[in-house]
């Protein structure tokens, strides 16, 4: 069966395959912020505290977890975060 999820690039490949960064929000008030746990020890402690702070300041928080910190986030996870959140904070705790 055809896998329509992997496509061959029709361009000259002079631009990065990933699209450019979104415009930075001027304020986070009222926005949905994703918190991405990269699955490293104690990252959750940091993110739990951030969630409290953000929620207290009127933001909606969604939590996500990478399967492993040793590899890039899977494309499905990146798509889910991008489609549900206005901003994302990634915890690089240790």
């Amino acid at each position: 069966m055809t896998n329509t999820k992997v496509l061959l690039d029709p361009t000259s490949e002079s631009a990065p395959s990933e699209r450019t960064l979104a415009v930075r929000p001027k304020t986070l008030t009222g926005l949905t912020v994703g918190l991405l746990d990269i699955s490293k020890e104690r990252g959750d402690i940091f993110l739990n505290r951030l969630e409290e702070k953000l929620t207290d300041n009127g933001m909606k928080v969604l939590r996500f977890t990478k399967p492993t910190f040793t590899k890039p986030a899977p494309v499905d996870l990146r798509y889910e975060i991008a489609s549900k959140c206005d901003a994302v904070i990634e915890a690089l705790a240790d």
Partner: protein, 346 residues
């Protein structure tokens, strides 16, 4: 087989068609997802190797492989047997002579137009009959589209970027047709340019959208040729002479007037040229209250509308209808674009 092109992974939830729009890979219409499987099948349509560099694509002059062309041909909706025509057509326009960069960048409403001659046009099911300059035939529609997608995706030339056309025209989506060779006693466009009838040839011409010429009453070639000449004189501007070419697409019923009277193709072109001599007094700047026109020093002259060879003639169209079509050109010569032909390598 291994591909040299980068592989782009999309999320399972992501709409493939929307993702291709977001990545600006399209010409405004949906494209077929270029999966490895489809591209592999497309490459079976040519005897050339996938990694062969065939053209340097303007405007960014990017070296382009057969594989990249195949990817864009998949997206355009081509069948594998169309690929050789797409590749050879790109070879005609990515040249100094044709000047695709200029054709793209001009504010005039022109684009590359392709006429395919020879057995391949019939083998791959191209249309030379009813609605020949319109939609509805897969080969006609997708070959021209694939070429434009290569210019857009590989060359980096898109509307609003290097493409500065004030108005554009729908044929810029892809404009390709074949000539009705078998029912005409006259040599084809390709034969008039030095090829034999058994050769497969693509000819590229820079042109605007087609315009109808109606003459339903002429029963003699002498009358009909005057109608055709009268319309051709106004091509692009009735005040432009010699600087721009045109293509005349003669329909079967109009062509029959000349065939039945025993006119040859050469005689047709000679007589139409004689009927397109222009008295420059009528088109000098300021004449008839119109500021556009020729400089005053060219008054009291008789000039032909087109340079020698500047009127290209193709025969195509449905069997009924006393109409032909004119496709106006762009700046000709070394500063503009020359009509360019090439044999198709299958």
């Amino acid at each position: 087989m291994e591909f040299n092109s980068r592989q782009i992974e999309l999320a399972a939830q992501e709409d493939t068609y929307e993702a291709m729009f977001e990545r600006l890979w399209t010409d405004g219409l949906p494209v077929v997802p270029p999966t490895a499987e489809r591209v592999r099948k497309m490459l079976e349509g040519t005897s050339r190797l996938a990694d062969e560099i065939v053209v340097s694509v303007p405007p960014n002059l990017i070296e382009c492989t057969v594989e990249k062309i195949a990817i864009n041909a998949v997206m355009a909706g081509c069948k594998p047997e169309f690929l050789p025509v797409v590749i050879s057509a790109l070879e005609t326009i990515c040249t100094e002579e044709f000047n695709m960069h200029g054709v793209l960048a001009t504010t005039m409403s022109v684009g590359p137009i392709f006429v395919v001659n020879g057995p391949v046009s019939r083998d791959i099911g191209m249309n030379s009959g009813i609605n020949v300059l319109g939609h509805g035939n897969r080969a006609n529609s997708t070959i021209g589209r694939a070429i434009q997608l290569v210019i857009h995706n590989v060359g980096g030339g898109g509307p609003g970027g290097i493409d500065r056309s004030t108005l554009g025209h729908m044929g810029k989506q892809g404009f390709c047709f074949s000539e009705n060779e078998l029912s005409s006693p006259w040599p084809s466009l390709a034969e008039s340019r030095g090829y034999s009838s058994s050769q497969n040839v693509v000819t590229a011409f820079t042109g605007e959208g087609p315009r109808l010429v109606m003459d339903q009453k002429s029963r003699t070639p002498e009358s009909l040729i005057r109608t055709l000449a009268e319309h051709l004189i106004s091509t692009v501007s009735s005040r432009v002479v010699l600087g721009m070419d045109a293509m005349l697409v003669l329909s079967p019923e109009h062509a029959a007037r000349f065939h039945e009277a025993g006119w040859s193709r050469d005689r047709f072109l000679e007589e139409i040229t004689e009927n397109m001599m222009i008295n420059t007094d009528n088109i000098i700047a300021g004449s008839n209250g119109i500021e556009e026109g020729l400089p005053a020093e060219l008054k009291e002259m008789s000039l032909p509308k087109f340079r020698p060879g500047g009127l290209l003639l193709a025969q195509a169209g449905g069997p009924a209808g006393l109409f032909s079509a004119i496709i106006g050109g762009w700046l000709n010569g070394p500063a503009g674009s020359e009509p360019t032909s090439k044999e198709i390598l299958l």
